[in-house]
């Protein structure tokens, strides 16, 4: 795939005029998707897709881009791409200048390529189904290569390819209570899979006792890393974006303006070095290894795209245009895993939160629901599953004065999202113990 990308982009650059700059962004995947319900196959198939985005600009600071789906056949694709290039060239003169257009003009070529993987999807799926014979298992297995490339007519070339699989699934009991599990990695290991499943089955057993219905009110809660991830994800809806903070639509704009603060335990980075996303943005800029976004409860750096840097006359850090983090890394705390239940003592153990949204974005207040594996903790012991509860609370409360502590162990959560294409986002987070967590419905 890398050779194909190189040959087709070089052929395109032969057609570029001296007053033009062309950047091409290449995306491809060769994926298998198998959907399971009740331990059996619901839908199974393969998807092979290649695309390229051409971004043409001229000396008048005008630019236009077009995304084109490719066949993978050189002659046919070159014909399509040159046709697209000519279309962009015809349209450009009529468009206004783009005052915020900025592309990398220094040559920063990089390459990260992973070896050919010999994983056998059908063998893995047979193993999964054999392990689920007595389980009500539902979820999706996806696997395959993801390829990302960038090249520009100045001579820069960047390439990132990796192989990964994700088995994102839940196991249910007959009372419709469930535990959510995920096994994502680069190499399948039956023992690792078995261990995750066994732990899930142990938790499911606790869910089989009669459910306790809890009232609205304030509770001490433990949020597993995947539950905390939902809150951090909401904070990321513009929260770390320079532009959103500038115009005030960021849910963290009061933190950014130093009107409010989080607990000193809270430090959050964008850590490209340890994530699985490509280290270059679509304009050809190389991302720094780490950007410290929140430091000990105070806002540190925002994510700044090249466009924002020109609009607001600040230095950019090669963020994407959305200024949304893709490799969140939250500093660990000091609560050992075997201290979690005793620290909470009486409260709620929350494995997952779901369907979060803002109830007052301006003040960082959000709502959402408990989902999968949520238990009462009584006298330091998990005692019973709870009914689905809605919370409604402010981030300045949950991760501010009411934060008791973070766990010393963190989990790497690889996004199993597959909208349009398989995601390369990830988050490495601890769990959190929070006091006075507000349940409202």
């Amino acid at each position: 795939m890398k050779d194909y990308f190189h040959s087709i982009s070089q052929e395109l650059f032969k057609n570029i005029k001296s007053n033009e700059l062309l950047i091409v962004n290449f995306d491809a995947e060769d994926s298998c998707f198998v959907r399971l319900n009740k331990g059996k196959i619901r839908q199974a198939g393969s998807v092979k897709q290649i695309s390229m985005t051409l971004s043409l600009s001229n000396k008048d600071k005008k630019n236009l881009k077009s995304y084109v789906r490719l066949n993978g056949s050189f002659d046919r694709d070159i014909y399509t791409l040159i046709k697209t290039l000519n279309y962009l060239r015809r349209e450009l003169p009529d468009l206004p200048k783009d005052p915020y257009m900025m592309f990398s003009r220094s040559i920063n070529s990089t390459e990260i390529s992973e070896e050919q993987n010999t994983i056998d999807d059908k063998e893995i799926l047979s193993y999964i189904m054999s392990s689920a014979v007595e389980l009500d298992l539902v979820g999706i297995y996806s696997s395959g290569y993801i390829y990302t490339g960038l090249a520009n007519s100045l001579g820069q070339t960047n390439w990132h390819s990796n192989y990964s699989f994700s088995f994102d699934y839940s196991i249910y009991n007959k009372n419709n209570n469930a535990i959510k599990l995920n096994y994502s990695s680069k190499e399948w290991n039956n023992d690792e899979y078995d261990l995750i499943l066994e732990k899930g089955i142990e938790k499911l057993a606790i869910l089989s006792v009669p459910q306790k219905t809890i009232d609205t009110g304030e509770y001490t809660v433990y949020l597993e890393p995947s539950a905390l991830n939902e809150i951090i994800d909401m904070m990321s809806w513009g929260g770390f974006s320079y532009k959103s903070n500038k115009i005030g639509t960021s849910p963290l704009h009061l933190l950014n303006k130093k009107e409010k603060s989080l607990h000193r335990y809270v430090s959050i980075d964008e850590n490209i070095k340890d994530g699985i996303s490509a280290n270059f943005n679509s304009d050809g800029f190389i991302k720094p290894d780490v950007i410290n976004m929140i430091s000990e409860g105070k806002f540190a750096d925002t994510l700044v795209s090249p466009r924002s840097s020109l609009e607001y006359s600040v230095k950019h850090n090669a963020s994407s245009m959305s200024e949304y983090p893709c490799s969140v890394d939250m500093r660990a705390g000091d609560i050992k895993n075997d201290q979690i239940l005793n620290t909470v003592n009486n409260g709620i153990y929350i494995s997952n939160l779901w369907y979060l949204n803002f109830s007052d974005r301006n003040n960082g207040r959000m709502t959402g629901l408990t989902r999968f594996g949520c238990f009462m903790i009584e006298n330091g012991t998990l005692t019973a599953p709870i009914n689905t509860m809605r919370f409604d609370d402010s981030v300045y409360s949950m991760l501010g004065n009411n934060l008791i502590g973070l766990t010393s162990k963190r989990e790497l959560l690889i996004d199993s999202g597959t909208y349009e294409e398989r995601s390369t986002s990830s988050a490495r987070l601890p769990g959190a113990i929070i006091n006075n967590f507000k349940m409202t419905l």
Binding site: F33, R35, N37, K38, K40, R42, A44, G45, S46, V47, K48, Q49, I50, L64, K65, S66, Y67, V68, R69, N71, G72, S73, R76, T84, L95, P96, D98, Y100, L125, M129, V138, G139, I140, Y169, S170, G248, T249, H253, L254, K257, E311, W354, Y355, N357, F358, S359, D360, N362, N363, R365, T367, L369, R371, T388, R390, D392, G417, T418, Y419, L441
Partner: protein, 477 residues
């Protein structure tokens, strides 16, 4: 490619019990002007094919953007391999439809095509709208965009069915934010609700420059308004919030694949069970909900779904009673229920699943003025800006951009951050009045997410405003 494909179809047909080819060509053009500056224009041209094979008790698909003969043959082989592998492992062995669609077709009716005006003319129009949005100094952020999508589907199968559909829709979006004492309020032109299958003339005839001025003034008024009170109130919900209420608390819970458990790991399940159809009282007798792929210009109007099933209007809820699920031909086989033509895929690279099409609230008999006049102590809620509901579709909480207090039958002061919460069937039993045909709005949403692998799709909702009794309303910090 399409004619070439049809002429050579016999070359590609595998020796299997059933095979379908679904060829999709998508074109997207998004033009945005933010704070008077044109953002990079988005042009997307996407094309690909999904081959589905049902054979000897197995089911599989292969999808590819490689539309050469070799590419299509490889995708067909992939589909066959997955069908072989899934044999004896399927949760349900699908039986393909026997009704044949002979040369079916559907095309969106566009008075003026998208290309009638140049990109420059569209940019100029958006610049004018931007000027109207930035009408006052306290407007801190503003922008406007037009999105055009065209989806052409060509379907053919080994039973002899074939059809062609070309759906195109337009979505105008306007936004204005105003700041007052570090409190920012945002007002939009219906969020993303004004998506329609309609021509470019719709944008010119919609008086967007005037709408821009109205929402800018609203944003300023909201930024200085008090928070919404916390109390139980009779609540009039405007169409641009009703669509979200219908979508989340009727559309999704009635999707048959959720009821059958397919979505339990991702989008969630439903409190509705199969034994409720035909007898369960979902809401008050004023509640009438249809699956209506026939409503002119609505977002999900079409003649055929992506399994090749002919589409027509069916009631899902009549006089408050649950009639049938939103279940596709194959899901209905699994559940022994009646089907509607709702099997839809976001594109060639995702398999079809049970989806809302147009899910509409049938109009009642009360005018909007009569509805407001009937309220002694209440609130009018407009335009969704926050949505959250549990995975069984019971406990919901929704937020709106604008609230207006109603006192003794009259609209009074504006309040900010209005939210409400409730439980689905209790809420629908509180439905007291339904707006008449004159108040009926054809709206929709272009981004409904669901499925594994994930898919977003456009769904339509047409509805009048409605009055609900005793709703739990609250405001912000």
């Amino acid at each position: 490619m399409k004619n070439e494909f049809l002429n050579q179809i016999n070359t590609y047909l595998p020796s299997v019990d059933y095979c379908s080819f679904r060829f999709v060509n998508k074109y997207t053009n998004i033009i945005s002007v933010t704070r008077n500056v044109l953002e990079p224009i988005e042009i997307v041209e996407d094309e690909g094919l999904m081959v589905t094979v049902i054979h000897d008790g197995g089911f599989g698909y292969g999808a590819t953007s490689d539309l050469t003969k070799e590419g299509i043959l490889k995708a067909t082989q992939e589909a066959k391999k997955w069908a072989e592998f899934s044999k004896n492992h399927l949760i349900h062995q699908p039986i393909p439809p026997i009704n044949i669609i002979d040369n079916g077709q559907y095309f969106t009716c566009e008075k003026d095509g998208w290309a009638k005006e140049s990109s420059k003319d569209k940019v100029d129009y958006l610049m004018e709208i931007n000027k109207s949005l930035k009408s006052k100094s306290s407007i801190s952020n503003w922008g406007a965009s037009f999105r055009y999508n065209k989806i052409e589907t060509l379907f053919t199968d080994t039973n002899g069915s074939n059809f062609r559909q070309k759906i195109s829709y337009i979505l105008p979006q306007l936004i204005a934010c105003a700041e007052h004492k570090k409190q920012i309020q945002t007002r939009t032109y219906g969020g993303h609700a004004h998506a329609r299958q309609i021509g470019y003339n719709f944008l010119k005839e919609s008086d967007l420059i005037n709408h821009a001025s109205v929402i800018a003034n609203d944003a300023i008024e909201l930024s200085m308004a008090p928070n919404c009170p916390n109390k139980q109130l009779d609540t009039v919900i405007a169409p641009d919030q009703m669509i979200l209420q219908i979508h989340e608390s009727i559309g999704h819970p009635l999707e048959l694949d959720r009821i059958l458990g397919d979505e339990r790991n991702y989008a969630g399940s439903s409190f509705v069970s199969l034994d409720m159809f035909g007898k369960y009282q979902y809401g008050s007798e004023k509640l009438n909900i249809s699956f209506n792929p026939e409503e002119d210009s609505e977002l999900a109007t079409y003649n055929f779904d992506d399994d090749g099933i002919a589409a027509d209007k069916k009631y899902l809820i009549k006089n408050g009673k649950l009639e049938r699920p939103i279940g596709s031909y194959y899901s209905a086989q699994r559940a022994n229920q009646e089907y509607v033509a709702c099997s839809r895929a976001t594109s060639w690279n995702r398999p079809p699943i049970d989806r809302m099409g147009n899910i509409n609230m049938e109009p009642g008999e009360t005018s909007f003025t009569e509805m407001i006049n009937s309220v002694e102590d209440g609130i009018l809620l407009e335009t969704n800006n926050s949505w959250s509901i549990d995975d069984y579709r019971n406990k919901f909480q929704f937020g709106c951009e604008k609230g207006t207090v109603i006192k003794n039958g009259e609209l009074k002061e504006v309040v900010k951050n209005p939210n409400y919460r409730g439980v689905t069937t209790e809420f629908w039993h509180n439905l007291d009045m339904v707006g008449d045909r004159a108040s009926f709005s054809i709206l929709g949403t272009a981004n409904c997410g669901k499925g594994e692998p994930n898919q977003t799709i456009f769904v339509g909702h047409a509805t009048p405003p409605c009055l609900f009794k005793n709703i739990d309303i609250f405001g912000g910090e």
